[in-house]
Amino acid sequence: MLELREITVNYGSIVALHEISLKVEQGDIVTLIGANGAGKSTTLRTISGLLKPGRGSILYEGEEIGGEPAHKIVARGLSHVPEGRMIFANLSVQENLMMGAYLRKDRAKLRNEFDYVFGMFPRLQERSRQVAGTLSGGEQQMLAIGRALMSKPRCLMLDEPSLGIAPILVKTIFEKIREINKSLGITVLLVEQNANLALEVSHYGYVLETGRIILHDRSEALRANEKVKSAYLGG
């Protein structure tokens, strides 16, 4: 469904990603794990068009999307939930969700999506008229995910959904990610520092280290891998 071929990204003269190649199969949850600064977020930002790749190609559903502007990529059904719960703080919860469907032509038919998002996150429905900036961290993350779902994506990219969230909510959010993948059949590309959790929910994993992929395998296999265990799983 999504494939990166030898993608290189530079920030000025610093190489952030060095010939990264990875593949996300339809219907899978694929995770990218790695330490701070390994290039996980950079990878997602490059795929979603927020950054331009220096070299290499990005194929989505068989078509080259490298270098396309972000809004065109969203229109293809590839949605990105950026790191740090970037919600629109001055808009209401409902308006935030509306904006998620910004590119859709059939805005009159959003009832299903609202029902689905509110069904998944009842908290959002309770607070639908509240200004989004006043939500708690976990609620904001739910809103960011809900907003991405409003565009009816076929592939969803999540950047650090557990960042700065109460531990009890982290579990809920990962359950929801699994549910989104299962019940809607949405392919998920997940970037996460919490490698334990990420490898638990995902089917396949890539390990990034200073801009290179050093390892990739099925998630169970990665969890059993000694190197991964000692470096990322705390044991």
């Binding site: 809004h71 919600i87 629109f88 703080a89 609202f114």
Partner: protein
């Protein structure tokens, strides 16, 4: 004179925005026809109107879209000089070909001049906006500041427009009616735009540019649209100013004028149209009210600004949202909200 100010609660949730628009225009027509203010008062009233146009339009860029522009006076200058050029150089021919100077010909000439002034400023806004809106925050502020100064220097060195000696405008056409009609239209356009489904895009660019891009908002396009539209209205305000003051000098459109407009926007509360209108009124009247204490005027003015900013950093009306009373509010479902009605 309060009669001619546009009604305040045309903010979010006003039930009949079109009615307010028409009411404001009729009110300004009545005032300019039947109320005879002494010349000093009408100068102040027209100044207030022009400042409302400038501040409300700049608020679209600085307040609603979150882009800090420091060059609004530059666009006003382009509008002022273009409109003045139309009436001064084209006026004679216009009257000749349309059968002499009468109400209809002067009115139509004035409308054409204002429109050309607005369009010239909008074009300049496009030319400046496309490259510089890639910049963020302070960098954008400096780029627009530089642009404003370039405009001033170009005018200063254009002999046909009087250069630094200034340019004498041939007709005084601006009335309370014209000023407040334009002000009402400006407020109407900005408020309706920002409250529309399309207009929420401006707010998303301000709240979080990356998130806006991630959901598919073309942020560059929104920034340019806001910038061009604001420049257009600033240009028209310039045209009104030119045909009201009668004499243009490049110094009048310097950095300080831009700052003055920005202070109105910040004092009123970024992204709060009602507040910005009040701030425009207040900051135009304040120096006049302080005239009796001539030598301390600017000291008191500055002090009041500092106190206001200390006590209300979110702006005079910042943080207050205006809602229509419950009995006027329609029950809306999310689905209905989605339709740009």
């Amino acid at each position: 004179m309060s009669l001619s100010s546009p009604p305040a609660d045309r903010q979010k949730g006003s039930a009949y925005p079109k009615l307010w628009l028409i009411a404001a225009i009729i009110a300004s027509l009545l005032v300019s026809q039947f109320v005879h203010l002494n010349p000093y008062f009408s100068i102040v009233v027209i100044n207030i109107g022009i400042n409302i146009i400038l501040a409300v339009s700049l608020n679209l860029v600085n307040g609603y879209t979150g882009q800090f522009s420091l060059g609004h006076a530059g666009f006003m200058a382009i509008g002022a000089y273009s409109a003045a050029a139309v009436t001064s150089f084209g006026g004679a021919r216009w009257f000749d070909s349309l059968g002499g100077v009468n109400n209809a010909t002067t009115t139509s000439l004035f409308i054409v001049a204002l429109t050309i002034g607005g369009l010239a400023a909008a074009l300049a806004g496009l030319i400046v906006g496309v490259p510089s809106l890639r910049l963020k925050g302070d960098y954008l502020a400096i780029a627009t500041l530089g642009f404003g100064e370039i405009i001033r220097v170009i005018i200063q060195n254009t002999e046909t427009m009087g250069g630094s000696r200034g340019f004498s405008v041939s007709g005084i056409y601006t009335t309370i009616f014209w000023t407040y009609t334009v002000a009402a239209i400006t407020v109407y356009v900005v408020v309706n735009l920002v409250n529309s489904a399309y207009g929420r895009g401006f707010l998303t660019v301000r709240d979080d540019e990356i998130a806006a891009e991630a959901i598919g908002v073309n942020t560059t396009k929104y920034k340019v649209v806001a910038f061009v539209l604001a420049s257009f209205f600033a240009g028209i305000a310039g045209g009104l100013y030119a045909h009201f003051i009668g004499y243009l000098t490049p110094e009048g459109f310097g950095f300080m004028k831009s700052i003055e407009i920005i202070v109105m926007v910040i004092l009123g509360g970024m992204g709060n149209t009602v507040g910005v209108i009040f701030a425009a009124v207040l900051l135009t009247i304040l120096p006049e009210v302080l005239r009796p204490v001539q030598e301390y005027r600017m000291v008191i003015y500055s002090l009041m600004l500092i106190i206001l900013m200390l006590t209300r950093p979110q702006g005079l009306f910042g943080g207050i949202t205006w809602r229509r009373p419950a009995w006027l509010r329609k029950k809306r479902t999310p689905v209905e909200d989605g339709n740009p009605a």
